[in-house]
């Protein structure tokens, strides 16, 4: 219940805005275009949808992971999101089709995430100002550098 040491994580946007929360999924660092998704169901479909590749997805719905993860619902062979931002990830799994928890799935797939931040504030910020972002955690294990074709986001940093 209490924050364990090295549990902290931070999401930093290109304009310098920071959101401090706790680590979720794999530990590490990731870079991507921060976007918000408003669907209240279907997180497994969202995570495995290839069109989210390169994007750090912010779920506006606060509770994610309630029904765990199963083998029928993935939209492709792997999770594609570059990072995952959730307010209240589920502690347990409750669904008859679940084969494992979302936490395990994210960790095993090396997806770096952050939890416990004000996702609505973040969403409104992204809406009002455009987006770009990086997520990092104190556990310094940097991922591979961006591919050469990546360019900085439309808005220059402040």
């Amino acid at each position: 219940m209490s924050a364990t040491p090295n549990d902290g994580a931070v999401l930093v946007l290109e304009d310098g805005t920071r959101y401090t929360g706790r680590a979720y999924g794999a530990r590490g660092r990731t870079l991507g275009e921060a976007v918000f998704a408003t669907g209240m169901t279907g997180y497994q479909e969202t995570l495995t949808d290839p069109s989210y590749a390169g994007q750090i997805v912010v779920q506006t719905a606060p509770h994610i992971g309630n029904t765990g993860v199963n083998d029928e619902d993935p939209e492709s062979r792997r999770i594609w999101v570059a990072g995952y931002v959730v307010r209240d990830p589920s502690r347990i799994v409750s669904n008859f089709r679940a084969t494992r928890s979302l936490d395990d799935d994210l960790t095993q797939n090396g997806i770096v995430g952050i939890r416990g931040i004000d996702t609505r504030a973040l969403t409104r910020h992204l809406r009002d100002r455009g987006r770009c972002g990086r997520a990092s955690s104190p556990d310094r294990m940097p991922r591979s550098t961006p591919t050469p074709t990546w360019r900085s986001c439309a808005r220059p940093p402040r």
Partner: protein, 1071 residues
């Protein structure tokens, strides 16, 4: 909204308490009974083009079908819009509905119809145990239930086949314990269909959705499962043919296989629609009305975002929890087990950024001791709690929480209750956080934030930490831990929201926009319950309108999703928050950051709001209107006695006591019978008429567990005035002038709670002299207390002497009734007085008519208010209806009004509206207490002249015979007696439908126990019942009225009459 398209709107509803029947809201408002007769008269007068029945619940739908079947719609060329009759029937006829669902590729519960026991046993092989047994065409669901074993099945089917007039029993597979969901959908004439809201019932199938704890959005479905429900829902709404409007569909999902069964659908706006509207910000009823007159969803803008259309599906970034409010304490013999028959009387809703927060906020919104989770003492043994949790009842969720505290596992509770493990784990989480708070961890910001993000109140934290609520709050404020306010915006932040509909959360960013206005905060009345219903909401809403028009910025705080006060467009800002001191103080703090807070109104939201007055004042919050210390002058016995003394007004002899021995001393010195009641209660909770010392001691025994009486809250003991007439007055006072809203005469004698009693305005049997005394007494009391705003005073006249029973310096529940009967906007005026306007100003500005309600001209109409009583809903464990004798504790759940040129006509309408009318002929059963025998003779004589036959018990029959009235004698009913064929008791006759009306006044001495069986049988048989001679007198007067054609007039017509009358009077003065 309809006037935007220049549609003339005519509304019909006999309920005066609702905002709907405000004459401001329609072109013609008819407070008339919903019967074919009245509706036809209205249709004939108004010649509407169409009738819209889908916004008035089952009542409206049934009325529409009745009109259609009687050919009335055809006769006048009126179209039915919103849903066609066959669409309505498709939804309601079980057989047609079943076929329709199957055609859509979905399932209903499997069933078999059997006519013999052998067939039943064969069906058992298919359906398995437990199964549902439903004998066909028996009355009131008699004989239905669950059969868990072979033997039970044999017994129930045997009985059922015997009871059923067609020797037929329906056996259905049991879906008890399955997960239960509801979808609210809307469809327009272009076949655009959207799902507005998904609702998951925390209590599984077996508990009516109205009695379940529910959550939006659904939280334990995968997308695949959700889409399946959505697709079925859309197919059904299309197949049923709801072509313009809303629809509610209920599903059951088997938790281990995902199998989906459609339980039922309602092709109309329903109780859940209100919840769905508040939960999502999507105003279902408003849009349904537009769809009904031909708009498409994509043509209607989303009010909240302004730039997107209504043809979308709202998405939530928060969690909404609804918890039901029960009133079982009012019906102690009723079986409090929750079943598929709805028993709750109201509900509270809460919004939070996670389930734990929303749940805890909702529980504390119920304002009921014991509703919230607690960690006091040691929990009872785990096995005991698990066993208790198996039965769904009021407060079960707390039992579950305690069981988890006691070491029960999620699995054990899942098996016992059927509640999904995810929800159970959330309670485990809450218990874990509680353990953290109670631990030796420093009481710092991090700990407070942890507790707050799981919905813990300052009170709960104080309890866990061994501190006072105020100490916790001080630490919290010092640490800077305060809530922020988010917005319900229908789109999870995708688009900016322009409507300030807020809820609190302990998050990073607040969305409360600074504003420069002068703000008035209005406290609502919380969840509906007996004694505090929508009548108070009427006053709050009107205050909001009036203050807004006067240039103030209005801020509403309430937690009731069923009210107009929680519509986002009623006030300038809406905070959907619990009405507790903590939550209200936080809203006040947030709103005080900008603009100017003029003050808070606490006198319009019933006892809920009033109860916060002292706490708010102590926190330095400006209270508008009558001050808390003035309120005390009225509520505190000793102080009020002083006021009455100075005013030279009499009160019945009275005293107070804090325990049984002192109460007995007081009662014996005053003289029995006495009326006892705990102080500071609403709705007469705990009130009783006590006839002797043993009975008084018995009363103390019974109320001990509820801890209502103690040193700080004494018991009030008053001389009870037998045979007195009760009078109610609603008035305004501004510090110098009294303005009477209305003087109401009760039809039942004093001793029946005024909320349960029928009353008339203006009084019909009181002389002018008495009324003048009443007005003067009211004025002195208002002055003595120091009222600024509304005042309600209750009087009684016994043996020609006027007594004051009580005074309430706040809005009363009769305010809407009075306002509509006389056309005086009392609540609006009160709110303006509270911000400093004078009555003279308001009269000058035309808001208040020049002549107040103390003298009503002879050609003005008479209005009768009748209470609606819920006795049929509440049955004992054996299935009997609970006793329906009215007493000092209020039990009605609502009211209707009848208005016409004279009392008999108005009374007849009120009976039609409340009970579907009185019979024109038939057999009347009479059995009255000795003291009523003299008074009953004339009314019964009149009944015989009108053609009724009389049946009576021996004693009453004798008296009637001596007075020349023929009556058939019938045996009384005694428990345990042998039934002789050919010599039925009166209860047998009632059950057989051979009695059409019952007059039974209980005998005073024996605590009204006599006649319980007779009365309960009458209510179960849906026949009119009179338990006082006064009611009977009114009824007889109204029989005459019934023979004449009904006349209908709208409130606007009455307003025009008043205006004309005023002109004539002015002209007369001039000439």
């Amino acid at each position: 909204m309809c006037s935007a398209r220049r549609v003339r709107v005519i509304l019909v509803n006999p309920n005066p308490a609702t905002i709907m029947t405000d004459p401001d809201f329609a072109d013609a408002t008819y407070i008339e009974p919903i019967t074919n007769e009245a509706l036809e008269a209205i249709i004939a007068k108004e010649r509407p083009d169409a009738v819209l029945p889908t916004l008035g619940g089952q009542t409206a739908l049934n009325a529409a079908i009745a009109l259609e079947e009687a050919g009335i719609l055809d006769r006048y060329g009126v179209e039915l819009i919103g849903a066609k009759v066959d669409a309505i029937k498709k939804g309601e006829d079980r057989q047609i509905f079943k076929e329709l669902v199957l055609e859509c590729g979905a399932e209903v519960a499997r069933s078999h119809i059997v006519h013999t026991l052998d067939e039943a046993l064969a069906a058992a092989d298919d359906l398995g145990y437990p199964m549902v047994v439903r004998p066909s065409f028996t009355m009131g669901g008699l004989g239905s239930g669950f059969a868990y074993t072979h033997d039970e099945l044999v017994r129930m089917v045997g009985d059922g086949l015997h009871q059923s007039p067609t020797t037929e029993v329906l056996l259905e597979e049991s879906i008890l314990g399955w997960k239960e969901y509801e979808l609210e959908l809307m469809r327009d004439q272009a076949d655009n269909t959207v799902v507005v809201c998904s609702i998951e019932n925390v209590d599984p199938v077996g508990v009516h959705t109205g009695d379940s704890i529910t959550v939006a959005p659904a939280l334990t479905l995968t997308d695949r499962e959700y889409q399946r429900l959505r697709d079925i829902g859309i197919d059904i709404i299309r197949a049923v043919g709801v072509d313009t409007g809303g629809c509610n569909i209920q599903f059951a999902v088997e938790p281990s296989t995902g199998r989906v069964i459609v339980i039922e659908m309602n092709p109309r706006v329903s109780r859940s629609s209100a919840l769905a509207s508040k939960a999502t910000g999507f105003p279902i009823a408003k849009i349904a009305a537009k769809l009904a007159i031909g708009y498409r969803l994509d043509e209607i803008p989303n009010d909240i975002t302004k730039v997107t259309p209504a043809s979308f599906e709202p998405t939530l970034d928060y969690v909404v929890v609804k918890v039901p409010r029960f009133a079982f304490e009012k019906f102690p013999s009723a079986d409090a087990t929750l079943t598929t028959t709805m028993k709750s009387v109201g509900e509270a809703m809460a919004i939070g950024r996670n389930y734990a927060t929303a749940l805890q906020k909702a529980l504390r919104s119920l304002e009921k001791r014991g509703s919230s989770f607690h960690w006091l003492g040691e929990p009872a043994p785990k096995a005991e709690l698990i066993e208790l949790a198996k039965t769904p009842t009021d407060g079960r969720i707390v039992t579950v929480q305690q069981a988890l505290r006691a070491g029960a596992t999620i699995d054990e509770l899942y098996i016992a209750t059927g509640i999904d493990p995810w929800f159970l784990d959330q309670i485990v989480l809450i218990n874990e956080v509680a353990a953290e708070v109670a631990s030796l961890r420093p009481f710092d910001r991090a700990l407070l934030e942890l507790a707050k993000d799981h919905g813990f109140s300052d009170t709960q934290i104080a309890q866990l930490r061994g501190l006072t609520e105020q100490e916790v709050r001080n630490v919290r404020w010092q640490a800077g831990v305060r809530p922020v306010y988010k917005t319900v915006d229908t789109c999870a932040g995708e688009f900016p929201a322009y409507t300030p509909y807020h809820y609190s959360s302990y998050d990073l960013e607040t969305e409360v926009e600074p504003s420069a206005g002068r703000k008035v905060i209005i406290l609502g009345s919380g969840p509906n319950r007996i004694g505090q219903g929508i009548e108070f909401d009427y006053s709050c809403v009107h205050a909001s309108f009036a203050l807004h028009d006067a240039g103030y910025e209005t801020v509403m705080i309430n937690c009731n999703p069923e009210t107009v006060s929680t519509d986002y467009d009623t006030s300038d800002r809406l905070y959907f928050e619990p009405l507790t001191l903590e939550d209200v103080l936080e809203v006040i703090h947030a709103e005080s950051q900008s603009g100017q807070l003029v003050g808070v109104i606490v006198q319009l939201g019933g006892q809920t709001a009033l109860g916060l007055a002292k706490g708010l004042e102590a926190a330095g919050v400006p209270i508008l209107g009558t001050t808390p210390s003035a309120i005390d002058l009225a509520e505190e016995r000793g102080l009020f006695a002083g006021i009455l003394h100075d005013a030279q007004v009499l009160a019945p002899k009275n005293g107070t006591a804090t325990d049984a021995p002192s109460a007995v001393r007081v009662a014996e010195s005053i003289g029995y019978p006495v009326l006892v009641r705990p102080s500071y209660v609403l709705g007469g909770r705990g009130m009783e008429i006590v006839y002797s010392t043993p009975a008084l001691e018995d009363y103390f025994d019974r109320v001990r567990s509820e801890a209502m009486i103690g040193p700080g809250s004494p018991l009030l003991v008053d001389r009870f005035l037998d045979d007195a007439i009760e009078i109610d007055v609603d008035a305004l006072y501004d510090g110098s002038r009294l303005y009477i809203g209305g003087v109401m005469e009760h039809i039942e004698e004093a001793g029946v709670h005024s909320g349960d009693s029928a009353c008339t305005l203006p009084p019909v049997t009181l002389g002018r002299d008495i009324i003048e005394q009443v007005v003067e007494a009211t004025r002195r009391i208002a002055e003595g207390i120091g009222v600024r705003g509304l005042l309600n005073v209750q009087f009684a006249i016994g043996a020609g002497v006027l007594y004051v029973l009580e005074a309430n310096p706040r809005a009363s529940r009769t305010v809407p009734f009075v306002s509509k009967a006389l056309g005086i906007p009392l609540a609006k005026a009160a709110s303006l007085i509270m911000v400093g306007r004078s009555i003279a100003d308001l009269v000058h500005d035309g808001l208040l008519p020049e002549h107040d309600g103390s003298s009503v001209p002879l050609d003005a109409p008479v209005a009768v208010k009748e209470a609606v009583l819920p006795f049929k809903r509440f049955r004992t464990r054996e299935g009997h209806v609970v006793d329906s004798v009215l007493g000092p504790e209020m039990r009605s759940t609502g009211e209707v009004m009848g208005i016409d040129t004279d009392f008999p006509r108005a009374f007849a309408k009120s009976q039609d509206a409340a009970y579907g009318g009185l019979p024109d002929s038939g057999t009347v059963f009479v059995s009255v207490a000795d003291r009523d025998k003299r008074a009953v003779v004339l009314p019964v004589l009149r009944l015989t002249q009108l053609g009724f036959d009389i049946v009576a018990t021996e004693g009453t029959a004798e008296v009637l015979a001596r007075n020349g009235i023929r009556a058939t004698t019938v045996r009384k009913y005694f428990q345990g007696q042998v039934v002789q064929p050919g010599d039925p008791s009166v209860v047998d006759l009632i059950n057989e439908g051979r009695i059409d009306m019952v007059i039974n006044t209980p005998s005073g001495r024996s605590a009204r126990a006599d006649g319980i069986e007779i009365r309960t049988a009458t209510v179960a048989a849906d026949k009119p019942l009179f338990t006082t001679i006064a009611q009977l007198g009114a009824a007889v007067a109204s029989f005459e009225a019934h023979n004449r054609a009904i006349r209908v007039r709208s409130l606007q017509d009455y307003a025009r009459d008043r205006a004309e009358r005023a002109e004539r009077a002015a002209a007369a003065v001039v000439s």
